[in-house]
């Protein structure tokens, strides 16, 4: 712990504006249902007024022919309303295929977009999951940007999302 704090401080002193990294771990729960489809998931950063500061990831059926997987993007209904409907899919660096049940590391480097452009401030990391013929769940994790020291934040979903862990490193 002491080492971590020291590293954090030295990092902050050396370059106060240097971008930090976000290491996210998202658990997709294993569900026992008659018809299972992997959930669509959107991850973004939200300002206090719910406007979108950065789109981080969208997992959907990117490989269906004729871009048919986009038909169900609106089921991520908060994401769709806040930002999804403004975007053209698929989008480089943002969209990727849906993921299987299990824990997934999702790193975002501070040196690259969109974190490199993110203004300092208070944000909420939002994760929304919607499953075809299943349910929907949305989690919000408040976070300060850039982090002053390494910090780990967690949240736990109830049905469509499992354990979520966010590690911020200056």
């Amino acid at each position: 712990m002491r080492i971590a704090i020291t590293v954090g401080l030295s990092g902050a002193m050396a370059a106060p504006t240097l971008a930090a990294d976000i290491n996210l771990n998202v658990e997709i729960p294993r569900l026992s249902v008659a018809e299972y489809h992997r959930p669509y998931v959107a991850i973004w950063l939200e300002r206090a007024d719910n406007s979108v500061a950065a789109n981080l990831a969208v997992w959907y059926d990117v490989n269906l022919r004729n871009n048919e997987g986009t038909k169900w993007l609106k089921d991520l209904r908060q994401w769709w309303r806040r930002t999804g409907r403004e975007l053209t899919m698929p989008a480089d660096g943002l969209t990727s295929p849906t993921r299987a049940p299990g824990k997934h590391d999702v790193p975002f480097a501070g040196a690259s977009k969109p974190l490199a452009d993110l203004a300092p401030g208070q944000y909420q990391l939002v994760i929304e999951a919607a499953r075809e013929v299943g349910g929907r769940e949305l989690l919000r994790i408040p976070m300060q940007w850039p982090p002053k020291e390494p910090i780990n934040l967690t949240a736990k979903g109830e049905h469509e999302l499992g354990a979520i862990s966010v590690t911020l490193k200056p």
Binding site: A34, D61, L64, E132, V133, E137
Partner: protein, 300 residues
């Protein structure tokens, strides 16, 4: 879902009957309980994810008062329905069977096949309960020839002709699906609800147009006329779009095939069950039967 996985699922589903297909098949009547001298109902029929919103495919139905391709009825003006609306599925359409309170068959009217739903009207000329059912029977097979998996669909007569003798890994499925709704003009009656002895059927102990929240409902299920004990029956409330949890309830029939359950909120409910391993009259075939009903629960 990865494309490969999706293809596998599509291939698998190609062997399964309508009710077990990805997405949900359903019919939705404009009303289930009617009064007055000259009532009609309009029924929507669709295949969708959310209940009960038509957002994916129309249910392909024959005998809805339109021509076989879903175009206007014979003699009507306008283009024939060749090809139908975009997105329509191939294969043989399900048969619509409307049974009147006296047990006679009634024709549906004003049918049309849209991009997302099929729709038709039933003129309720008699007092009592109508049973409106979409019935889909199909024989499908898969086998290996030259290292490739072949799929086949057709009739029992064609089966022996089309598939080479000694085909490897031959799997034959005889599917029967019933997707139905009940509507009552005046007092509920039972004549139209008598079992046909084919496929999976719901025999009312509680009348399907006399359902209230908080009251225990009892239905007896029979598969090809025989009781269906220990069968899982899934019940999902409509209005999925406006809530986060699916709210699916799993019930089970008892040793006599009787299902007892109750629901707490009024509305339209989707009830679904299937059995996969019944004896078939077709040689080497497995028989798979599916059942779907849309039921309306009224507030107390």
């Amino acid at each position: 879902m990865k494309t490969t996985a999706k293809l596998a699922v599509v291939a698998l589903l190609a062997c399964l009957p309508v009710a077990a297909e990805a997405h949900r098949a359903w019919m939705l009547p404009s009303a289930t309980v009617l009064s007055g001298d000259d009532p009609w109902v309009t029924v929507d029929a669709a295949i969708s994810n959310d209940l009960f919103y038509f957002e994916h495919f129309p249910m392909r139905l024959a005998n809805i008062g339109a021509d076989e391709d879903g175009g206007p009825a014979a003699g009507a003006k306008g283009p024939k329905g060749k090809g139908g609306p975009p997105g329509r599925r191939g294969g043989r359409p399900a048969d619509l069977v409307v049974t009147a309170p006296d047990g006679s068959a009634v024709e549906a009217q004003n049918g049309s096949m849209g991009r997302y739903r099929a729709t038709f009207d039933v003129h309720l000329k008699q007092k009592g309960t109508y049973r409106i059912a979409a019935i889909n029977e199909m024989l499908t097979a898969s086998y290996k020839a030259g290292g490739e998996t072949k799929r086949w669909r057709g009739t029992a007569e064609a089966l022996a002709k089309d598939i080479p003798a000694g085909a490897e890994d031959l799997r034959v499925t005889e599917g029967h699906n019933r997707i139905e709704v009940f509507v009552t003009s005046g007092k509920p009656t039972d004549t139209a609800l008598k079992p046909t002895g084919k496929g999976l059927e719901l025999l009312p102990m509680t009348h399907p147009n006399d359902l209230m929240v908080g009251e225990t409902v009892k239905f007896r299920f029979v598969a090809d006329g025989k009781p269906a004990p220990d069968m899982v029956v899934k019940v999902i409330p409509g209005g999925i779009r406006y809530r986060d949890k699916l709210g699916e309830m799993d019930f089970k029939t008892d040793a006599e095939g009787v299902l007892s359950f109750k629901v707490e909120a009024p509305g339209m409910y989707w009830l679904n069950a299937s059995l996969g391993d019944l004896p078939s009259t077709v040689d080497k075939a497995k028989r798979r039967v599916g059942y779907v009903a849309t039921l309306e629960f009224l507030p107390q």
